[in-house]
């Protein structure tokens, strides 16, 4: 019996203590906790500067918004104090939290400064959560920096929502490299070894891949070479897109919707699309195009190709960083190949302004909030927003930039105008800028003349931009869908059919290519699409397209 007494004593006592603590917590939680959800409005702390509260997205590379160099620049120049409310770093979670704040009737911060897609912006705008900024933008005194933008009309129009109003300030930094990212790379060493020229047509590409796979260019005595390969989810690594564009213009970013003479039509129902599938099916059947491209992720792709001596003849990828040191600059840019009808194209996504700095209905001084946002468009602020502190992290002093090699210096004689003194600032935790997530304007010239390459130093990564300008940019089509302005109502109506159709188009394309489904079923495929509500979907797209023009 003694043992039990011991047992009895030990456990309950500690549990009782827990219970008491628990009770205490529950008891006091209700009343004495100050409500700190709305840090706005209590700006008396330091001096008499007016306070502007800004909702930003948490970013692990931004150490502390409050003490940030960029914040200090804004605060000093505008004589305001910025307070921050951090939203989650993941986009969907940030959106959820924002809508919770709005839904619960809590007081909103003065400014919401996170990326929102246009239909979300429109949803908030049409319900009066965001206030229109047209009046401010059109006032050259208030919007001094915005009105200094040379292509401000383009920027203004690109930000218009379906109601014809603008609710944000732009972050606009065009960069040609990102406008046509569906790039392909071919193993130059193998070409040389086998005495082949760079393929220019789909037929030549077929022959080249055949040679790669059959003639053992990596010289290990085994037929282990992969012809063409890509990945499922890496940036522009889908090989279907590159190949299909030799047959018909196909842009996955626009759900493969094309436009001709103002008329929107789907690429995936055209006979040329079928031809493209036939061609790819042939490649897969003969082992020249790895069907692993449809199941492997980016890590797997890298593991496959980055081996000494090389493993793949041709790889589709947006970024050259896909290739590791093992390949030692062996991969060279392959311009779009020409298909049987003479088409050579690549998806074109024109640089557009991103909308940021939404002023909310609860803003205490919307005009001041706007002025602060406009100040961020100042040229020097726009550089600080990306490169950090002037003369420490970057410089436009000609004496400094003279030591740097501009990306187009060798091809076009364009000298470097901005020197990036501290390139590692970008992808490391820092306290110099907001990771460029704020209104900013950097003209095209900046992207063409900013440089982090010191003259005379070995450049580990070759500069592909001139070759890209020469090979890819001329194949952009003349008429493209720049953007589609849907209303929330339209989106709700097409959501189901769009999801179903997107799924089905991709799934079927892969099935046709891998031969899981014979191309004799093409008509069934078309019939199925119609059943899914393709016509209604197209009508909505057409309306949205006309609205955006």
């Amino acid at each position: 019996m003694r043992k039990q007494v011991q047992l009895r004593k030990k456990l309950p006592a500690s549990l009782l203590a827990f219970a008491m603590v628990g009770g205490l917590l529950a008891g006091c939680s209700g009343n004495n906790q100050p409500n700190t959800t709305t840090p706005a409005g209590e700006g008396e702390g330091t001096g008499a500067r007016p306070v502007i509260t800004v909702a930003v997205q948490a970013n692990p590379n931004v150490e502390d918004y409050k003490t940030n160099h960029y914040t200090k620049l804004v605060e000093e120049a505008m004589d305001v104090e910025l307070e921050f409310l951090e939203l989650p770093s993941q986009v969907e979670e940030a959106l959820t939290k924002l809508s919770l704040m709005v839904s619960s009737g809590a007081e909103l911060p003065d400014v919401i400064n996170i990326y929102l897609n246009e239909s979300t912006v429109y949803d908030y705008a049409s319900k009066g959560v965001f206030i229109p900024q047209d009046e401010y933008l059109n006032n050259p005194e208030l919007a001094a920096n915005f009105n200094n933008i040379p292509d401000k009309d383009f920027v203004y129009n690109a930000m218009k929502l379906p109601d014809g109003k603008v609710y944000a300030l732009p972050r606009y930094a065009p960069n040609e490299w990102n406008e046509g990212s569906n790039r392909a790379w071919i193993n130059g060493e193998w070409l040389e070894k086998l005495g082949l020229d760079v393929p220019q047509t789909t037929d030549e590409l077929y022959e080249t891949l055949k040679a790669f796979v059959e003639q053992d260019p990596n010289e290990n005595g085994r037929r282990d070479e992969v012809g063409l390969v890509g990945s499922l989810n890496g940036w522009s690594q889908n090989p279907r897109v590159y190949l299909m564009n030799a047959f018909i213009y196909a842009d996955p970013g626009k759900s493969y919707m094309n436009v001709k003479d103002g008329e929107v039509y789907p690429a995936f129902t055209q006979p040329e699309w079928k031809e493209g599938l036939e061609y790819m099916n042939k490649l897969v059947k003969e082992g020249l195009f790895s069907s692993q491209s449809f199941t492997q992720d980016e890590t797997q792709l890298k593991a496959l190709i980055n081996v000494p001596g090389g493993m793949a003849g041709m790889v589709t990828a947006g970024s050259y960083s896909t290739f590791g040191p093992e390949l030692d600059s062996k991969m060279t840019l392959l311009p779009p190949v020409t298909g049987p009808s003479g088409l050579a194209a690549t998806p074109y996504s024109p640089s557009l302004p991103t909308q940021l700095w939404f002023i909310t209905k609860d803003a205490k001084d919307p005009e001041l909030a706007f002025k602060v946002g406009d100040f961020m468009l100042d040229p020097e602020m726009s550089l600080a927003s990306r490169y950090g502190e002037k003369d420490v992290d970057w410089s436009d002093d000609p004496a400094v930039t003279a030591d740097y090699l501009g990306p187009f210096e060798e091809s076009q004689g364009l000298a470097a105008a901005v020197a990036e003194l501290n390139p590692s600032l970008w992808n490391n935790p820092q306290n110099k800028h907001w990771n460029d997530a704020n209104p900013a304007y950097r003209p095209l010239e900046i992207s063409r003349t900013a440089s982090n390459l010191k003259k005379g130093e070995d450049h580990t990564v070759p500069n592909w931009r001139p070759a890209y300008m020469e090979g890819y940019v001329p194949t952009f089509p003349e008429e493209v869908i720049v953007k589609l302005n849907y209303t929330p109502e339209e989106l709700r109506n097409i959501a189901n059919s769009k999801t179903a159709i997107d799924n089905y188009v991709n799934e079927s394309a892969v099935a046709f290519i891998t031969g899981n489904r014979p191309l004799t079923q093409w008509d069934d495929y078309l019939a199925e699409l119609n059943k899914m509500g393709l016509d209604q979907y197209l009508e909505v797209i057409q309306a949205a397209y006309e609205r955006s023009e």
Binding site: Q33, E86, W177, A303, G318
Partner: protein
Amino acid sequence: MAKTQAQMGAYKEKKKKFSTHPASDRAYYIISGFCLTFVLIAVSYPLLYVLSASFSSGNAVSSGQVLLWPVDFSLEGYEAVFKNKDILRAYGNTFLYTILGTALNVCVVMTCAYGLSRPGLKGRGLFMMLFTFTMFFSGGLIPFYILMKDLQLLNTMWAMVIPGALSVYNMIIARTFIQSSIPKELVEATSIDGCSDVRFFFSFVLPLSKAVIAVITLFSAVGHWNAYFNALMFLNDRSLYPLQIILREILIMNQVDVSMIMDPELQIANAHAAAVLKYSLIVVATIPILCVYPFIQKYFVKGVMIGSLKG
């Protein structure tokens, strides 16, 4: 206590020499030993992989060279994790939330489970229904957020402690355990002796339910340790953030959402740096909670002599 143990494992198979087991038992032990070894090996692989990857260079990880052992041994992942200034404070917060939350959770669960475990209780089925119903139906996020706002729990540490005070799932487990392991005769016997329900709970139920208290503590602690969604939604102040939020922020960089950002090439630079972090993050985030288990495990091994209690 030593005496207890000796008495508990009276029949103790482990003390016997293997050859003294009957032949049929030997066959049983060989087969089950083989199966357990297989599970052990299969399950060790992911653990070893994560550990190795966390000590490998970012390049080796992101190009998939790590298979079993570290490649290009490096500590860059750990360096990057601990470079984050918020990590230590977040650790402290998580410890606090986990300890408070678990304590509260265990108290509420055990009292409720005991109450519902007694067969004679009037309205027992109704109460069970009431509790079980909430496992399936909830009002969703918006009304819950509004409730938190009205209770003034938003942006306070209590937002991390109180909403998880009762896990119906844990309560059901505890109730089932109490019901099936505490002999009904015990209730009768003590009841005749004039033992009140409160005293019965503290004198008999708690000591006899150590194993299930251990399980519930573990489940609840792990739940609190890994909780992040409430923190994301209900906390605005960085100084209140638990560890998981900080870790997720670092991890998120790994995902390049091309549709939302204007400069994918720049973001890829970020993603590359994050690839190696992923594994060191898992190690950093799980080691402390893994240490809870051994403490809890000993309550599973010790059986309690129910028979002697009755005496």
